[in-house]
Amino acid sequence: MAERTVDARGSFCPGPLMELIANMKSMQVGDTLELLSTDAGSAKDVPEWVHKVGHEMVDTNQDSEGTFHIRVRKAK
């Protein structure tokens, strides 16, 4: 199972969620993706999309510099 990191810090357009969606397309089922985001909105809108489509949230943390690390697994 592969893991990848998508660095979407400082991204307003296309923004972290669009970066995540675009990347998920080229992943295999079971692969995980770690999204780095400086946008607090990502901690809410990523899980919303992930649940709606049926992928899995792995975990979300915020580091000491304020960056969110959001891990998602492709489930379908």
Binding site: R9, F12, C13, I21
Partner: protein
Amino acid sequence: MRILVVGGGMGGTIFANHLARRIHHEMKTGKARITMLSASHEHVYQPGWLYVAMGRATPDELVREQQSLLEPGIEFHVDPVEEFHLAHNHVKCKSGKVHEYDLIVISTGSRPMPENIPGLKENSVNCYTAENAVEYYKQLSEFKGGRIVVTVGLPHKCPMIPLEVTFAMYDFIKDRGLLDKTEFYYTYPIGRVHSLENVAKWAAPEFDAKGIKYETLFNMKEVDGKNAKVISEEGSEVAYDLLVAVPPHKGQEVIEKNGLGENGWIPTNRHSLHMEGEHGKNVIVLGDTTNLPISKAGSTAHFEAETAAENVAAVVKMGRPVKSYDGKVFCFIEAGKDRATYAMFNYQNPPQPKAPTGAVHAFKMAYNKLYWATARGLL
């Protein structure tokens, strides 16, 4: 220093011209040389295709001979690169010719891939090539009423196109007296009508005022042409009479084939614009082909190219770069046929778009002509 520019589009051309002007003395004395390789003898102003689709421009107005845009002294060949040998500082072209370099700049752009969504290519129109824009205009001008659906794939170049085609079609249909027979249905991948929050805050009420319906969190999975409906990954279905697509994009095949980056996007340092990894030290990447999390837009290519040209000139003259790219992007947003606004932002600061005005639209129309001065590195 031998500088090789691969790609004669927005990024490559603006870079080469800016640099040539800065190192014109070094080029004369043979201390520096700029060679450009492109896949075409033409330079196309792609933003013009939006107007072609609306019957407000023709494709030939948007094209210039690439050679005519280049500063004297830049050596130009129409010979697409097929092999990148970054470890050995050379590329091999379609003709078989090998070009060696000390520094390579890659700006090969991106390509629409409607074929990546089942059913999309055969059942939709888009303005992402000259041919498609003409077909779009044909279908739009033959449209007699019904439901127009806008559907958006990821990633795509020009982030404003989803909104721009919607507003432009609204005015087009209104002018033809077909508004009461037409329903507009806009879909968008994330939970608001545009990726830029402040643009979404402005656009959603504009949609409401015009009666344009929208569905967010909608990512195309497939198009069922037989039943004329588009199906989303999120599980909804939308029927259409005319399907307008913003197709998903990839970088060029040659980038993927040479293992420079998945899907043709080259991993790029967000500040230095060098390719990441072992052989990236003398590789600069510009425009759509970077994997940076910023808009794939001409203005991005332009600001990156200016930064890179200043840096390379400084390296030629004093051995060190002088600038860091701050993520600057400036996008006009056409809000119909006679009003526009714009969004300007960088890695640190989100845009604060203002209400659209006729004056900004007039400026965009002027810019469409002035673009050729930008390509020459004058503006």
